[in-house]
Symmetry: C2
DNA sequence: CAGTGTGAAGTTGTTCACAGCA
DNA sequence: TGCTGTGAACAACTTCACACTG
């Protein structure tokens, strides 16, 4: 059942939490984990967990569950966290700096090689040992390094310009943290991530509660 | 059609982008926007846009579209961005600091009143004019201010402790930025936001492309 | 016509029911 | 009995089709 057809996005959204949970069990020295237990932790149905896991090809022992070490290894592999991809980040503002400082990203297979900004005051400084360069250097630096992912953390109104620059150089995927939607050729992978959407969902649950 | 029943989450995810787009049109002085145009910008079906908007109760003129000013006002109201809620943030690490520095949050109706941390070195300092206090002060400060939302940006292994503290005080909603799932009473609203899930989705699109 | 608005059809994702196993 | 794994029933979301309007 190793995945051939595309994995539903809702499934991919849940998997990192499964992994996070099982990793804590691993640290506590546990050997096995059942879908029932993961489901309880997540507050969802246990069959959903097994269905989700079937996409990864992991196979569990009946009556005991999944082996914790296998689980971690297979999920990290499946989610792409075990390989390491290089990335460039454009926009070293507060969010950009936070990403540069975040130790977690490298653990999840993303290595930010360099950052770019237009602000001359920032150029030349380092954040978490990552050099901040002027945006004009982007093309030259991109050409000499093997980088597949571009991260956009500039203000929304400049997102398209930055995206165009990345596409022109030949990046394969863009992680866009602005609320603006960018237009790129169809072979480029785009992932939009905006925390404000989560704020909207939170407000909705808080102020328009459904009758359940 | 002003909304009575619960709004689907996928709809809420799209709306902030609609709003962002129409606001840029507003700045450019445009008077009307059609669902077709929004759909084109988003890369989705135009009927989906009109269906989504029907939840808000906004009404458009046939043949011309929606009035831009109305659109912005109604969507901000609907998404809860026009009112302002107070929040406390716990965990002034890199992500926490980025949120404290983010000017966008106040524009979207969230005012972070104070931040908390265990690190004595940070206590007493200010980020973006927001005071960082020791976590032991949380109860006392929470009691004297009217705060409904708690933001968790601590390492995953402490998320549950912080959540318990917030619940004990009487917070109504928790915005959890850790990959850990927290257990809280059912009347508490929880919104989980982890950027790593987006990374997993991006990797999947990049390395397990579907056949479309 | 180019647009809104909506019920019906189609698709996708979730939950149920049960077979199989140790 | 407690758990995996899967086909079938169900619910949620999206797309289609079309009535309507200036």
């Amino acid at each position: 059942m190793s995945q051939e057809k595309s994995v539903p996005v809702p499934v991919l959204r849940r998997m990192p939490s499964y992994l996070s949970f099982v990793k804590t069990l691993q640290k506590q020295g546990e050997k096995y984990v059942s879908s029932t237990r993961i489901a309880e932790y997540m507050g969802i149905d246990s069959t959903q967990v097994t269905k989700d896991l079937s996409h990864t090809g992991i196979t569990g022992k009946t009556r005991v569950g999944y082996e914790v070490d296998d689980f971690v290894r297979i999920l990290e592999e499946f989610l792409g966290f075990s390989r390491t991809d290089s990335a460039f980040l454009v926009g070293a503002g507060s969010l950009g700096s936070a990403l540069l400082q975040d130790k977690g990203l490298s653990a999840f297979g993303l290595c930010i090689e360099a950052a770019f900004d237009v602000d001359k005051a920032k150029v030349g400084t380092r954040v978490n040992d990552i050099e901040i360069c002027h945006i004009d250097q982007f093309r030259a630096m991109a050409a000499e390094r093997h980088v597949v992912i571009g991260i956009i953390t500039v203000p929304a109104e400049h997102a398209q310009n930055v995206a165009d620059l990345m596409v022109a150089w030949g990046i394969r995927a863009i992680w866009n943290f602005t609320p603006a939607r960018i237009k790129v050729p169809s072979h480029i992978v785009v992932q939009n991530t905006t925390i404000y959407t989560n704020l909207a969902i939170l407000f909705n649950k808080l102020y328009h509660p459904d009758h359940s």
